[in-house]
């Protein structure tokens, strides 16, 4: 069973299709990246998954069924537009929102304390939300998102506005959740941010799917037959190399169509060049995105 099945959803605002015939599945226990530039339709897609807005057509199944009150209790949702009651204290907010997910107050307080401790925010538990810094508020909001230990966690732009320390904290928390077998869907317009986290991804642009699949497969599909090497001494001219690009210390070698990376390595070794680093150059998600969208334009 998939955690989420999205079938041909369509949502139009006026004459503009915000989400246009989008389909994808999310497997249980994976981290799924929903990526695309601003305004691509990520948030609209997520809101439809959460049944906050209804698609014009198409259907969505969450954990095998249409979203209902019971399945809502198994989902943790961090909206893109963050917000909590400003005048409420941190702990009261945690307990109140947990209660709306069916968690009793004592358990919520207990888990809340643990999570706050982990984020070094326990001393702030009685502060009002408005007294927190932006980053702290965001961490508190993430705690509220996972306080009921949901099976499926949907994070809309979780890293936006976070400093590096909090970003790392959040990434660690996400990895922990995955270890516990939770399914995580993350959307972001900062594509390189989540490369290291995602198992699979859906890339959308202007409401349409442009890429969908396993991260490593996607990357290898878009490999441009070049290799990054770091060597001692000059390389000189090597057969099969049609271009060289310097990237701080390393050199990216572009190979012609007949040459494989394996052949290049053999030639380097034959020439007696000391190789400190030899790796297939895979494009970043941003590069892939630009390539895909660029292709579409052509």
């Amino acid at each position: 069973m998939f955690s989420i099945e999205v079938n041909h959803i369509l949502k139009t605002y006026g004459s503009r299709a915000a989400v246009n015939d989008v389909s994808f599945n999310v497997n249980q226990g994976e981290i799924f990246g929903l990526i695309g530039p601003n305004g691509a339709g990520k948030t609209t897609t997520i809101r439809m998954m959460m049944d906050i807005i209804k698609p014009d057509s198409g259907d969505i199944k969450v954990m095998g069924e249409k979203l209902n009150e019971e399945s809502k209790n198994k989902i943790g949702y961090l909206p893109e537009e963050r917000g909590l009651y400003k005048k409420m204290s941190v702990m009261d907010s945690i307990i109140y929102f947990a209660s709306l997910k069916g968690v009793d107050n004592q358990l919520a307080r207990h888990r809340g304390e643990e999570l706050l401790k982990r984020a070094d925010l326990l001393p702030h538990q009685n502060k009002r939300i408005e007294e927190l810094s932006r980053g702290m508020g965001q961490i508190v909001q993430l705690i509220i998102t996972i306080i009921h230990e949901p099976d499926l966690i949907i994070l809309d732009e979780p890293f936006s506005g976070l400093d590096p320390v909090n970003t790392q904290l959040l990434k660690d928390m996400i990895r922990d959740l995955k270890k516990k077998g939770k399914t995580i869907i993350m959307s972001t317009h900062l594509m390189n941010d989540i490369e290291e986290l995602c198992d699979r991804l859906l890339m959308i642009n202007k409401g349409r799917v442009v890429l969908y699949g396993n991260l490593t497969e996607v990357k290898s599909n878009y490999r441009n037959n070049s290799v990054l090497v770091e060597t001692v001494g000059e390389l000189g001219i090597i057969e099969g190399v049609i271009g060289q690009n310097r990237h701080n210390g390393a050199v990216e070698l572009k190979l012609d169509a007949k040459t494989t990376p394996q052949m290049l390595l053999e030639r380097l070794v034959k020439k007696g060049i000391v190789v400190n680093r030899f790796e297939l150059s895979t494009p970043s998600l941003t590069e892939i995105f630009i390539k895909v969208v660029g292709d579409e334009h052509e």
Binding site: I52, E69, I75, Y77, R82, Y85, L100
Partner: protein, 403 residues
């Protein structure tokens, strides 16, 4: 625990803990109490000092000799106008008046003073009148003279068709009760529904809405908010009603002669609460509709005037409602849901309302609340998350059809 109930509890507690709410709830009883206490204390403070004023008179008829000493005013007879004038100029007397020979046929009395005044003071007038009556009715018993001074003292009783005294007796208390209560009812309705509108606007602005909707349905959200704030409003009304009962006892003791005995009849209480609940629910659902289509709390507040003004309409028709409760316009106001609560409260103070009219009015109210609730949940869902954009009328109508 049921999620709607959680929301009701949250909204209720959040509201009754607000400073503004507490102040407003306590302000009315306190202000009223202050007024009553002031009514008792101030007259005592401003009672004039007991200096005796002297007023001279000249009796040209010759039979006005029944002296009088009333309200600290002493009447002093003078034989000629010149004597009186001299005494006035010397300030021995404050003023003097002349009973001329033609007085019996004309009733004309000439009065002379040193200071100009708009009209002789009522105290002076009363003293002179009583003096004249005493003399005109000379030979009658003191009781008869007293009656002539104050011949009419009406005690009217409204009877039922069965010939027994009716539960409502009209009079000043019948007027003041509906008046005060219609205002209190209005304030309670507007306060709670205003909080609803404000709350929705805030949740929209601080984006809590989306988190709420990821846990509960729009219907639960709306029902929880409306009922939670309504419960807070009900507490407010009940505090007012209880303190009103208490205050009226004090007021009756103080101003019993003006108000008669003020008391809140039980059916007035019960219907008052029923109409508060219905009036509030109607207004709350309307406000929720306004709240969901307006992008900010402030804009919502401005738009809400459309639904506030009609509630007050019965106040403008108060005279009509009081004097002609059977008028067709009054009946209409009783049936139109948005004007019904205030109209019924005002009518109740004066006469009983036929049961069928009450039932029809309550029935229409309940149906419109239900209908509007269903429509509003649809609006809610469509527009709640449209930040910074207000839909035009055409879009709203379309969303009713689609939802």
């Amino acid at each position: 625990m049921n999620k709607t109930f959680l929301l009701i509890k949250h909204e209720f507690l959040n509201t009754v803990r607000r400073k503004a709410f507490i102040i407003l709830t306590l302000a009315f009883p306190l202000i009223a109490l202050l007024g009553i206490v002031a009514g008792q204390v101030i007259p005592k403070m401003i009672t004039p000092t007991t200096t005796i004023e002297k007023i001279g008179y000249i009796d040209k008829i010759g039979s006005f000799n029944q002296g009088i000493d009333e309200n600290n005013i002493q009447l002093i007879p003078y034989s000629t106008e010149d004597d009186a004038k001299a005494a006035l100029i010397k300030k021995d007397i404050k003023e003097y008046f002349v009973i001329g020979t033609e007085y019996i046929s004309t009733g004309l009395i000439h009065s002379y003073t040193l200071t100009s005044e708009i009209a002789p003071s009522t105290t002076v007038q009363t003293v002179i009148r009583d003096f004249l009556l005493n003399n005109l009715l000379k030979g009658n018993t003191a009781d008869v003279i007293q009656r002539a001074k104050s011949p009419l003292n009406i005690a009217s009783t409204t009877l039922t068709t069965a010939g027994t005294p009716a539960s409502r007796q009209g009079g000043f208390s019948a007027l003041i009760l509906p008046y005060i209560f219609s205002i209190l009812l209005m304030i309670a309705i507007f306060t709670s529904s205003g909080y609803l509108l404000q709350g929705l606007g805030e949740e929209k602005e601080n984006r809590v809405m989306e988190i709420l909707l990821s846990s509960i349905s729009p219907k639960q959200l709306l029902a929880g908010k409306v009922l939670g704030l309504g419960a807070a409003g009900l507490v407010q009304i009940i505090v007012w009603l209880i303190s009103a009962n208490f205050l009226m006892k004090i007021a009756s003791a103080t101003w019993g002669n003006v108000f008669g005995s003020l008391q809140v009849p039980p059916d007035f209480l019960i219907l008052g609460i029923i109409y508060f609940i219905l009036g509030y629910l109607l207004e709350a659902v309307l406000m929720a509709g306004v709240g969901s289509v307006s992008p900010t709390a402030r804009e919502g507040q401005q738009m809400s005037a459309i639904f506030i003004i009609p509630v007050i309409i019965p106040i403008y028709f108060m005279g009509l409602i009081m004097e002609h409760p059977e008028n067709i316009i009054v009946k209409l106001l009783t049936f139109i849901p948005i004007t019904a609560p205030l109209t019924v409260i005002v009518r109740l103070g004066l006469s009983s309302i036929p049961l069928w009219e009450l039932l029809v009015s309550i029935g229409i109210l309940i149906l419109s609340i239900w209908g509007l609730f269903v429509l509003t949940t649809k609006l809610f869902r469509t527009y709640l998350l449209m930040y910074g954009k207000r839909p035009d009328l055409k879009e709203i109508v379309r969303s009713f059809k689609e939802a």
